[in-house]
Symmetry: C2
Subunit: 665 residues, 2 copies
């Protein structure tokens, strides 16, 4: 474990630099939040100056400490620190152009925009919850490769907003349960929210709350550097529990007239107050200039990080685990996986199992998990329903992090955020399951998976009225459409076991896109009965069955409704009507195909779209004049076959609709 | 306050009836959850037999106690009790056909399907959070009409799942902060979840957690009737805090072999275990038959409720507040509101203010709130940004519930659920605000607003890249589309102050549909400069400006992009190209118009859709061959005008695209 570094530098001036850069940048942008960076400057300075182990020369060093600014509106804290540390992509020009088009200094920290931003924050509560995933990944990676290669901390700055959001409850409970001793959360207890004092809306005893969740809790003055350092020491010494340090701070600290008020939360200080703040801090440097002594002090932090990294590299060079360690961080061996999937698919096409796609997902996962070196599965308390636990998987527990299955509990939102954190940390391919209807519960974190381009996989089962008796609350009639609207999210609704295998191949080999699978509860026949080496799901949609003779109508369906389309095509064929069946597992992947291919699949004849969901978004395939057989409102409670009959999603109705389209009905 | 009723009945047999009806119904359905109803039968029996004040003959009696089965999968508990109480729509046939099509006994309790179901539950955590809104509404109504007319309790049965979900944290904090002493939550502490023991996934000290939130907490044996009754007495006596009673129960209690195991959670017991349970309970009646003594005992509960209602009616008849009380529960006076809105709209068309629609919303709310007798506003800590607090509004606090504005804190999800609860309770028209991007945080509760048909209003501001510098995390490029997919949710994106006024008129007069408004951060000119008495937003879309001469192209836009469409039409007109502009504030309302009207608005010429969001779902207006100017991915951080320019959402680009469509580009 890395130790506190002796203090020789002038931390007051180091912190002043953060305060001044932040207030000047917000003023220049005429937009942004000076309050949090100024209030947290002392905590952040002590943390970085005495504890953080990072090397700006290698922002991806695997064993670096992680720093998460969960109160993302205080982004200038991150940018100021990274500028002071000397990250090569965070020069003064970036600070000067805070919140401007084309600069890395976005209004909220955006992962991938600049080095040293470990995760995208802004939507409150996401940072702390993502950090739980990072801290868990650290322990899991440590369990595999030992202290010599994996031994770092995850530090989080969280505000009142983060702790009021529901996701924080899920994340805190999970972290406490898993005993994540390398996680240290600083709560910026400034008693101010946007609307005014926190006493307007909360009476929570946060310390007691965290203790109830099994955390180690301390309360300090967030402007007393010795107290901050001592608290961090104690937090690090408590290895069996995550730590929360309640830091009583003054929002906008340093601004002589506006500090401590909600007026400093999200608005520029104004020229007058900025001048007064400079006076109060004894800061004479002009905007965006950093005095040499201060820069030197911050660069010393970077230098110590570089030394630590050099030591780590030496340890790694001597380690017999070095190769396996690198492999865990490397992209998936796509060729090896492709071979395994191909063999598996050939078997499916031969055996033609009739299984629910949730079961087919488990079967495909058996192949994935035995091929990949580093799968981590999980479910939000629906393991037996989501079929997410493959043979040989063992739970991850606080006493043994070497397992590979996470019982997330009934916490979809924390699960999704933790998956993001695991992916950001590196070392694992991770997936987690719930019911599709409850994708709504984790939608903000799914959005961040997509925004950050994290290749995690969501296993969402019970994907339509086909779940039957659980009724409308559990039947996701609009959920698939709502998810398809999210940019950079590969939503896949496979039709049979073969498509499910292809979906998993896509998910496991993705590099910058999350995958969300919509899987049936009910059994479905194998439709891909002839083995095809190519991954057809990757095309988004394809002709599963061409019409005999002339194609008179195209039936386009997804998931469990492809079987219905096939049966409808039979009915039509019996009447001499040529119907092609298109399986359309992924609208996103289809949109990415060449226009010619898309045109060919869609055909020029009338079309009938079939999906046990709302039509919203089907324009990818259908003209307005085309027909659609699906849902127009919420579902109902009853056995699945009766529901399909009730809502008219049947082969007979599809055939009838097709005939009407052809003027034959 | 109603008092405990002396016990003369055989509560063990009353509880056995719940257990037997539940296990038999689940067995008949071959689907469902016997564990919770059997485990909670004693708690429920004591609650109903000694405390609950309801009258099955008038399920809408305003001063009834509210009972919420938050652990909605235990729906058979509700159906069994309502059957035993003699609700006239819950006969044995309903129980016998549990979870079947066409019966009221859906898999999860569905509001509106049967009397005595106070809210739809099933998605975990919603019930307890909705109940917070009910309990708050009770206090607010009490503050207006006194103890004689409003004096009831809200009781909740919640399971581990409810308390693990993040929304529970938000709701618990809010309830504790507001000191909701009439809220009593029973936690079904059975230590079992679907995956197995709760120790698989949680280590939370729930008692400490609730105490941290300012609750009154007790822990009892949930099968000891005297302890249950004493705890309820104590909970009711604590009038300044909500109460949580941790009830240690055995899941599936009564089943001699399966009780206490996760196997009884969500699966039928099987014939053998059912026979053994009958033996163990000494229950000889065949399935779905209730012995006379048991029925009489439960009917006594109903009789006492009827007496209480009669007393209440007598008090009300004597009350000078009787008329105002009825008015608070009556539908909005639509004519009176229409007049007020008409006058206001006429002024707008004359004054032509350039204001953001979030500001226009505040202006419209001034009219609404001064016309309606019972508006309750609120915001998730964005009051100044959402513009939700009109003049004269006062916060609701624990010491004064007579206010009309709720500081929900940074808790979008609990806000939405509480709004549902306020609407379900009756007595108020309620709305609440957040940023549109954070509609994702409360989407599960918005879905329930729509599923239950509750006329609440969501004020979602900062509705596009037009919010500028806050960047991609806050820019809802896909959120509008995702919300439009939800059935029975009226999403409205008004273009100016006039449309915003019309949107509020729709929201305030809705009876069975929630309204969600997407409002701009940036200023927008008044486009409806000629006064029109009709509510044009109610048509969903309409021709705002017809082309001079022949219509060659139709520009269809929503919200802030209608101004862009108008400017594009000017550019095209300058080149002699006739462009009509259609304002399309609500896709849902447009879909409900007659086909002829829709055809007329859409026109037969090429169309250009314009919205600073993804195209997904625009098929309502556009053919596939039509053009769309909008977003294809996430936004960016920068000043709004630069973002619009960067993403090509400008009048010049719209005009260019239109010309290309016409073969003129």
């Amino acid at each position: 474990m890395n130790q506190q570094i002796p203090v020789t530098s002038d931390e007051a001036r180091m912190a002043s630099a953060i305060r001044v850069l932040s207030m000047d940048a917000v003023q220049a942008a005429n937009s942004g939040h000076p309050g949090a960076p100024m209030g947290l400057a002392d905590v952040a300075t002590v943390l970085f100056n005495r504890f953080m182990r990072i090397d700006p020369a290698d922002h991806q060093w695997p064993d670096r400490d992680r720093f998460v600014m969960s109160a993302g509106h205080g982004s200038m804290l991150v940018y100021a620190i990274n500028h002071l540390l000397g990250y090569d992509d965070m020069d003064a020009d970036q600070i000067r152009n805070f919140r401007q088009m084309g600069y890395r200094t976005a209004g909220h920290p955006e992962y991938g925009h600049a080095k040293g931003i470990e995760t995208t924050t802004g939507p409150l509560g996401q940072g702390i919850s993502t950090a739980v995933g990072m801290a868990l990944a650290e322990r899991m990676h440590n369990a595999r490769f030992g202290d010599g290669l994996v031994d770092h901390f995850t530090y989080v700055l969280a505000g009142d907003g983060c702790l009021m959001e529901g996701i924080s409850h899920e994340a805190i409970d999970l972290a406490g349960h898993l005993g994540l001793g390398r996680l240290v959360v600083f709560w910026d207890d400034n008693r101010i929210t946007i609307d005014g004092g926190t006493d307007l809306s909360t009476s929570m005893n946060q310390a007691m709350r965290f203790e109830a969740a099994g955390w180690h809790v301390q309360s300090i003055d967030g402007h007393d550097n010795q107290a901050i350092a001592a608290a961090i020491e104690a937090a690090r010494a408590e290895t069996g529990k995550p730590s929360m340090i309640a830091c009583r701070t003054v929002i906008g600290k340093g601004a002589p007239n506006k500090a401590g008020s909600h007026k400093v939360h999200g608005a520029p200080l104004g020229d007058e107050e900025i001048a007064a703040t400079r006076d109060a801090l004894g800061w004479t440097a002009p905007p965006f200039e950093v005095p040499d002594d201060v820069r030197a002090a911050w660069q010393a932090v970077a230098r110590r990080g570089a030394e630590a990294r050099a030591e780590w590299r030496a340890r790694k060079a001597d380690s017999p685990e070095s190769g396996a360690f690198d492999a865990s961080l490397a992209p998936v061996d796509a060729d090896r996986l492709a071979k395994a999937i191909d063999t598996y698919k050939a078997g499916l096409s031969a055996d033609k199992p009739k299984v629910a796609t949730r079961k087919a997902s488990e079967m495909a996962l058996e192949v994935i998990n035995s091929t990949l070196p580093n799968s981590i599965g999980g479910s939000a308390d629906l393991t037996g329903s989501n079929n997410t636990m493959t043979s040989g998987m063992r739970p991850v527990t606080r006493s043994d992090y070497s397992g590979d299955y996470i019982h997330y509990g009934i916490r979809e939102h924390a699960m999704a955020a933790a998956m993001n954190g695991i992916a950001l940390h590196g070392g694992f391919f991770t997936y987690g399951g719930s019911f599709l209807a409850f994708a709504d519960y984790c939608r903000p974190a799914i959005r961040l998976s997509a925004l950050m381009g994290l290749p995690v996989a969501y296993v969402m089962t019970h994907d339509s009225i086909g779940l039957g008796e659980d009724g409308p609350t559990h039947q996701p009639v609009e959920t698939i459409s709502g998810l398809r609207a999210i940019p950079n999210l590969t939503v896949i609704r496979p039709a049979d076991a073969v498509e499910t295998a292809e979906a998993w191949q896509i998910a496991a080999t993705a590099t910058a896109t999350p995958t969300l699978m919509c899987l049936s509860r009910q059994g479905l026949p194998t439709l891909r009965t002839e083995h095809e080496g190519e991954n057809l799901v990757a095309r988004g949609a394809y002709v599963l069955r061409e019409a005999e003779g002339t194609r008179q109508v195209t039936l386009i369906a997804t998931g469990s409704e492809v079987e219905i389309a096939m049966n409808a095509a039979d009915l039509l064929a019996a009447e001499g009507i040529g119907a092609a069946v298109v399986s359309a597992p992924s609208f996103k992947l289809f949109r990415e195909q060449p226009s010619e291919y898309r045109q060919q699949v869609r055909g020029t004849v009338p079309r009938v779209g079939i999906e046990a969901a709302v039509r919203h978004g089907w324009e990818v395939f259908l003209e307005r004049s085309d027909a659609f057989v699906g849902m127009t409102g919420f579902g109902a409670s009853g056995p699945a076959p009766e529901l399909y009959e009730h809502f008219g999603i049947t082969a007979a109705n599809v055939a009838a609709v097709a005939k009407r389209k052809l003027g034959l009905g």
